[in-house]
């Protein structure tokens, strides 16, 4: 699958060839830092001074690289497709090789960063449980009513919430049976076939 680069994008990346090999390394590093931590105008300024290029060109170059790297990592394009995609830019072989290496070295990390942007439901963290027996209440004395009290810890967007729930023994056994069936589904042929064929 080939990456389609817009005219604006190509113009941004066009600053790379005149800048030279060292500059490409520097811009690559800035691009990755931007992906990890967000835009850093000061770093761009100091790079501009070091390489003797204007700040605007540096920034466009970094943005161009960021877009190139994120799109390629998102689509998980192969080496060949990446090379073919950047060939349209008309760069030198050496520059193409550097860009390819930059992509291959960092795509796993970029994919994990992109993975954190996906929509998420609260996810399971852990469960604590406790066995209780109700002996009496305001409306009825001398009872023996067993119950299981649970504290369900969930993660929601980096916050941890805890929910206190209770259930009776019969429902507990039912829950266990249902969830064991759920686990069993993963081992069924249907699921195995799909997981195997969609890779």
């Amino acid at each position: 699958m080939l990456l389609v680069l817009s005219a604006e994008h190509r113009a941004h990346l066009g600053c790379l060839p005149p800048a030279g090999g060292a500059a490409v390394g520097e811009l690559g590093r800035l691009a990755l830092e931007q992906l990890r931590r967000g835009a850093a105008p000061r770093a761009c300024e100091s790079a501009a001074r070091k390489l003797n290029i204007s700040v605007d060109i540096i920034q466009h170059g970094v943005e161009g690289l960021v877009y190139l790297l994120t799109e390629s990592s998102k689509l998980m394009i192969s080496e060949v497709d990446f090379q073919d995609s950047i060939n349209v830019l008309g760069f030198s072989d050496e520059l193409n090789k550097s860009l390819l290496q930059l992509y291959l070295d960092n795509r796993k990390e970029i994919r994990s960063i992109l993975g954190e942007l996906a929509p998420r439901l609260p996810s399971y963290h852990s469960l604590e449980w406790r066995l209780d027996v109700q002996l009496a209440s305001r409306s009825l004395r001398q009872q023996i009513k067993p119950a299981v009290t649970m504290k369900l810890h969930l993660n929601q967007n980096e916050d941890q919430t805890a929910q206190v729930l209770q259930t009776d023994p019969a429902t507990l056994l039912h829950l266990i049976q249902q969830l064991e069936q759920a686990l069993g589904e993963m081992k069924m042929n249907h699921c195995r076939r799909i997981v195997r064929n969609m890779k």
Partner: protein
């Protein structure tokens, strides 16, 4: 009881008082799990004759449903009544393609006896996390079993 033809000759206020008194008596006796002799003694002190005491006690024997209702009154944490689950295989999202991740979506159906609402608890988890959850629930069930054998 106000519409009952057998009782139409009695003053409605008196009827209401009697009904309320009888109901309170049954509830209190049920709450304390009082037995027949105890109730008879109590009613004797209230100057009821033998025949009426016997009638009352016969009716009192049928209070099974009242006990059930009494035991369900009261506050408790949200009560889990059922669970639904869904197994899905993620292929891509708008930020990342070719994700290829299986995951479970579990919903615990919860009943809140106080407000009658159903604030279900939903969460996603991986297979390992679900195994952890099921393991812990099984531990709870095992300890329940051991407790009942004591």
């Amino acid at each position: 009881i106000l519409d009952d033809p057998d009782l139409k000759d009695i003053d409605p206020t008196v009827l209401k008082h009697c009904h309320a008194a009888a109901a309170m008596c049954i509830l209190e006796a049920g709450k304390q799990k009082a037995d027949i002799p105890a109730i008879s003694t109590c009613l004797e002190d209230c100057k009821l004759d033998k025949e009426r005491i016997e009638q009352f006690c016969t009716e009192y024997q049928h209070r099974g449903l009242v006990t059930v209702v009494s035991s369900s009154i009261g506050r408790s944490p949200l009560h889990v009544t059922d669970v639904s689950w869904r197994l899905e295989y993620q292929i891509k999202n708008n930020q990342l393609h070719k994700t290829y991740q299986p995951s479970y979506l579990v919903t615990l159906n919860v009943e809140n006896s106080a407000s009658g609402s159903h604030p279900d608890v939903s969460f996603s988890c991986t297979m390992e996390q679900l195994q952890d959850l099921v393991g812990k629930l099984k531990d709870a069930a095992k300890s329940l079993e051991r407790a009942t054998q004591m």
